[in-house]
């Protein structure tokens, strides 16, 4: 723990405002995902047996690997901010690139998971799925929507970190001015938190 003075300390730098704005945006995101978590919990309480049966079919290994990957990518994202604030541009760039890479691996695993399901005929509105009980249809509907929208957030996150990496290389982001990178980190960690809840709800609680 060390303290340094930077441009962010000066009044009127826009630093506090930029961060507050990001947090407000994340709160709208929280309520957006919250609506889907609400649907999940109500349907789970109504069709607990069907949800139990359906969750058993989830690929626990892939889900666990993806959890570890996403947590680790959050770790490297946080480290990249410490690195830039200590003036280590090289290390920060490397950590940002590593975060993007892990986001990419997460999506590749998701691709395998989804394509395995789709090849088994389990996808929204499929003939096989519609033959199942209504609770299982709801489970898979929520599964595809929630993990799909989460994956979309991962894709957007990778893109934004890519821009930050460019800014870091160009020294637009530097040890004095780093709020863009910090806000990108906040977004990435938020996406990690959503997954922290999706993982037990879809893969563990059987």
């Amino acid at each position: 723990m060390e303290t340094t003075k930077s441009r962010a300390d000066e009044p009127g730098s826009g630093y506090e405002g930029a961060k507050l704005g990001m947090w407000f945006f994340l709160i709208t995101e929280l309520l957006f995902f919250g609506g889907m978590f609400l649907l999940y919990s109500v349907y789970r309480s109504k069709y607990s047996q069907d949800f139990h049966t359906a969750a058993l079919e989830e690929n626990l290994l892939l889900g666990s690997i993806n959890t570890v990957i996403l947590i680790t990518s959050s770790f490297t994202m946080a480290l990249s901010i410490t690195a830039i604030r200590k003036g280590n541009k090289q290390l920060s760039s490397l950590l940002q690139a590593g975060t993007m890479l892990m986001g990419g691996i997460f999506l590749v695993n998701k691709y395998f998971e989804w394509s395995a399901k789709i090849s088994h005929g389990i996808y929204p509105d499929s003939v096989l799925l519609l033959k199942r009980s209504s609770g299982e249809i709801l489970f898979y509907g929520l599964y595809y929507v929630m993990t799909g929208i989460h994956a979309l957030h991962v894709i957007i996150g990778i893109g934004v970190i890519g821009v930050m990496l460019f800014f870091t290389r160009r020294e637009i982001i530097n040890r004095e001015s780093f709020v863009k990178l910090e806000n990108t980190g906040l977004y990435w960690h938020f996406v990690d938190i959503i997954w922290i809840y999706l993982f037990p709800l879809f893969y563990l609680v059987t």
């Binding site: 723990m1 060390e2 303290t3 340094t4 003075k5 930077s6 962010a8 300390d9 630093y15 506090e16 961060k19 507050l20 947090w23 407000f24 709160i27 929280l30 309520l31 919250g34 978590f37 609400l38 919990s41 109500v42 789970r44 309480s45 109504k46 626990l60 666990s64 959890t67 570890v68 947590i71 680790t72 959050s74 770790f75 994202m77 946080a78 480290l79 410490t82 604030r85 200590k86 709020v179 910090e182 980190g185 906040l186 960690h189 938020f190 990690d192 938190i193 922290i196 809840y197 993982f199 037990p200 709800l201 563990l204 609680v205 059987t206």
Partner: protein, 94 residues
Amino acid sequence: METDGSHITGYKTYALIWGLLLLLTAATITVAQMHFTQYAVLISLVIASVKALLVLAFFMHLRYEGAFLKGVVFLAIIALTAIIGLTFVDVWYR
């Protein structure tokens, strides 16, 4: 504590939090294999919330932010909890 963004979290602190998050992930998977059917949902949600709190406090730096920002985030979490809680009052006693 500093509220002006002057606090830099050290590499070691982040490494410790990362280790804790991995441990909690292992714990939640292990507990799920034990089939405490009745309490399974509750236990995994508690572990997930501890993980989320660690991410919020350290990775998202909330621990070092001012009271206003902490309050705003707290209010949002309370609002979401209330929405879900009140919906369940309706679902259960309908």
